[in-house]
Symmetry: C2
Subunit: 190 residues, 2 copies
DNA sequence: CATTTTACTTACTAAGTAGTAAGTTTGTCA
DNA sequence: TGACAAACTTACTACTTAGTAAGTAAAATG
């Protein structure tokens, strides 16, 4: 018997990577078990269904995001620095094996994933937009940002473009992703 | 024996819809055969492998785009009208059963689709960006558009954001997609 | 030390996957 | 009318999928 240390966490880490690499329909329990050197059923012991595994991964991601944005290390940054921090989340995805955003990946498969997963994706998407919208709103009032339209619609453009750019970079390379980030920054920084 | 009229075309139409609805790994030959009322093998007769079917669909889409942009009905439009035409392609996707962009869908699955398909996606993505970049470049010179940065990077932001917004609309609704289109227009129109 | 709980393996099911080979029906054309 | 090709069906293979039930080994607990 092969024992995994910190089983649940390790399985979720792998599932998260696979999700960002191939999407929900693109990986199987066998992929996870294989990489960990255990049998399929060992994964089912910790996460009876694939839906539960997916939900656990996104729920953890949501918690992580909540912790980050409420952490003083990020809360005390200037407005442009906060925006940079946001872009860097996705730059790290790109650099780290060409991952895409969890939200985008699961929304492409939205019509073929379980209900519970869809709800989690919706929540994560909303929470991210709410944070970004507040940043843009406050930053504009403080004179750090400038842009036309509402901060809600500008947040939607920025988030959706970063999401799309991570996907585009799969076909066109990292340079294309960086182009999108730099253009977005130019578009809002005073 | 059930005969399909215009078999190849009908199969490609269905495959395109399924691709935009669930992605490449999200549909099977059985889905197509079932909807057409024929057997699996009938699909294999026209498209021996799933890769060939996928390639055929994207190649046809590329041809269609080429024909459109070279058609006088679009070529003779004003710069803002051309931009509107571009956005309307994707608005139609959204309205028509919440489809997403072929490029985005296949780039999410990029690491788990056949080689030949990846090359087609890359080509379609490039061709779209080249057209949009030229529109922005010429429109800016003519005084119809204004934006910071290069027309290449602005084209990348617009295209990736529309791609991302179609996905986002799956979780957050059509309103969110429209928000992104309107914001993009405000960002470039003088 | 005995018992129970945790974390796995073995062995399986039922369903779905792409793909193939051989046979059948139907329309076309010489 | 006969031959042939096009467009299917039947019947199958080999493989992968999520998920389950029963058994085992090791660690924790009393």
């Amino acid at each position: 018997m092969v024992k995994i240390e910190n089983s649940k966490k390790t399985i979720m880490n792998l599932a998260e990577e696979l999700l960002q690499d191939r999407g929900f329909n693109g990986f199987s329990y066998a992929d996870i078990a294989g990489q960990l050197g255990v049998k399929n059923a060992a994964i089912h012991y910790h996460f009876p269904s694939k839906e539960e595994l997916g939900i656990a991964v996104i729920r953890r991601y949501r918690e992580r995001f909540k912790l980050w944005v409420n952490n003083s290390r990020i809360k005390d940054l200037s407005y442009p620095e906060k925006l940079d921090w946001f872009f860097n989340i996705y730059s790290d995805f790109r650099v780290n094996n060409g991952k895409v955003c969890l939200v985008g990946a699961l929304e492409v498969e939205f019509n073929s994933i379980p209900e519970g997963l869809r709800k989690e994706v919706e929540s994560l998407n909303k929470e991210t937009l709410v944070w970004l919208e507040a940043l843009l709103e406050d930053g504009r009032e403080a004179g750090a940002f400038q842009f036309k339209g509402t901060s809600a619609s500008k947040a939607a453009v920025i988030y959706s473009s970063v999401q799309g750019a991570l996907q585009m970079a799969r076909a066109l390379g990292t340079k294309k992703f960086r182009e999108v980030v730099e253009q977005n920054k130019q578009d809002v920084l005073v």
